[in-house]
Symmetry: none
Subunit: 204 residues, 4 copies
DNA sequence: CATGAATGAGTGTTCATTCAT
DNA sequence: AATGAATGAACACTCATTCAT
């Protein structure tokens, strides 16, 4: 065990440095995006703000688009991780508890930087693939969640249909709750409504 | 009288020409976007494909961004028109009929060019304002639709909450139905599920 | 006589209109130059400010450069006229009186718009010919002025040399007096010095 | 020691290279101006003729205007240097000798490229500031020159007035001598007249 | 003659990318 | 691996000029 950790150590620092550099670059993009707008997101400025040379930047990313892809991927992976761990944590909870937790997780995951998602969605180009891929992930997660709770659902319902609808509702309503909820509606209110809508559909 | 008609004649064609030119330019963007990709959408290429001179293009749009804004606006206005006329047409229909019609309208509005919406959403930069504005329009429409059907809803429900949820569900699920529905699910199936989800929520 | 006047009448209004239009155009250039800077002096803007159509502008000037040439010519002709009438007015004055009058005329000619000359000289392109031509005019004027006052000069002096020096001194010192005289020196002081310098040279 | 020399070596060449590149660019402007006319002076052509990439050109100059400013500044600095070293060289010469040397210096400074000055003055845009600044420099130089020769002047004379007049006379007459002297007048003749005029004024 | 919409060649400038050090 | 000066293709946009009405 020790030796294996040693073996890793000589490699890991490099990998860790790489990871840090990549993170620094992605963070730089976000920072520029917020402070100076999309037009200022040039590769040279990214490198400058990230504190690396433009040459190094191109060691980590083949071209500019790859940076945006990575940025979206990082965001999506973050959500993915949160969603997935919520799924596992509530493996044996009742359906409404699970859905509540899911909605909470989704909202909380965006709460540390509420404007970032808007920015990513509206300003940073992202091939349709990315969005589709994420939708499929979410679909899978909810399919899994619902499959193991078949007893709480009418047996006549098609699992694919249910998870398709649920996944879209969760994504759309959580984002809406964060940035477009009507004045007078709190985040708590929003969450209550979202879960109510989800449960109403699943029990219909 | 003659002269007054002349006066009109010389004006209207111009307005019509203007409108046509603007349309030609926006269509050109769409065509290039589909055939050559976003990177080929240069102002010179737009002008070329639209069959106008680059100078004329800049007589109609102050800069490149304005073209994208107009393109999004055109799309949103189209949807808006469709949604609104559906609302009016079904002024006296029952709620489920209205919602079914709304979903139909939304889907049909995208059906003539299914990939366009994806392209607009993912490739063409659009300030967050546009999206927010559209969300608010949709919210208003559904608020109106639900307000006049208070008797079909439990009186305890808050109209803003309801329309917030419904608007988001309709938008997200219709788009999802068009481009991300699971294999094996038809558009008809999707529509059925969407309406079922909407009604379940509203009746819950 | 009558008929000839008639003949003139039908023509003159046109010539007068032409002249007015040309003046309006040149005035527009000056106005734009002062208010918006040289970069804003475009043919379209000139036409706009002059209150004529761009098409008309090109009826009076073959191209943009011609406008600048005309503008310089107008200024130079103005000075020329002033200088020449001063020469005539003081045909029988003593030399120092004449020179004083010349300096006065030169300065007064610029006094109604002191910054215009700077602008013309520094911002508006003017082929070297224009400057040379003006220098020659001035040279001629002073040659004439000095020739008829040979008795006030030492006979040994070469008239060309004298007028060359005098012409340059007058031009340079008058412009300098207007825009670059040291703080504490009034225009009157400047004039006194200029005349003193001229007379000293001529009597040396 | 070695390393410190290395440190210097790697720096100095860069500074020298920078200077050389800037010079190459300014020289390119002059060359194009003479050979192809002002309209051909485009940034891309400048870069081409200077043998640098357009990108590099923009590393040295923020925009096109800055190139013209630098070009004028280079010329003015050259004159300035010549004038100043003449002043120092003749620190203890008599006034007429000094003025003669000044006129010589001024003329010689333009003699290597007589048409350049005309071109700069007539074709290359130059904010009035540049001219004013140069005039002030010249004024200062002559103020200094005259101040230390108070004994050669009548004590009643105001130093500012004298240097104002002298500076303008030198500049204007030297330029005139170079490009507008009457036929039959040699450069030597011109110089004689200029010095005579200067001395006459100062002794008057 | 007047108009001003239309033209499109040509410009200044940017910025993704490379590569010698 | 890191650097960052250098590159130059490509772009958005302007504006002098034309010509159909």
């Amino acid at each position: 065990m020790k030796s294996s950790r040693r073996g890793l150590r000589t490699r890991k620092p490099r990998q860790r440095r790489s990871r840090q550099t990549v993170e620094a670059i992605l963070d730089a993009v976000v920072r520029i995006l917020k402070r100076e707008g999309f037009d200022s997101v040039t590769t040279n400025r990214i490198a400058e703000v990230a504190g690396v040379s433009i040459g190094s930047l191109y060691q980590y990313f083949p071209d500019k688009k790859a940076i945006f892809v990575a940025l979206h991927a990082r965001h999506l992976e973050h959500i993915d991780r949160v969603i997935q761990s919520t799924l596992v944590e509530h493996a044996s909870s009742r359906l409404d508890t699970l859905l509540g937790a899911m909605v909470d997780a989704m909202i909380e995951a965006h709460l540390d930087d509420p404007e970032l998602y808007e920015l990513l969605a509206t300003e940073v180009p992202h091939g349709a693939d990315g969005a589709k891929h994420f939708a499929e992930r979410l679909h899978s997660v909810f399919r899994l969640a619902l499959a193991s709770r078949a007893q709480e659902l009418k047996e006549s319902r098609d699992l694919d249909s249910l998870s398709f609808v649920v996944a879209h509702m969760v994504e759309s309503l959580c984002h809406g709750a964060l940035s477009r909820r009507p004045p007078g509606m709190s985040l708590r209110d929003a969450k209550t409504q979202i879960v109510r809508a989800l449960m109403a559909y699943l029990r219909a």
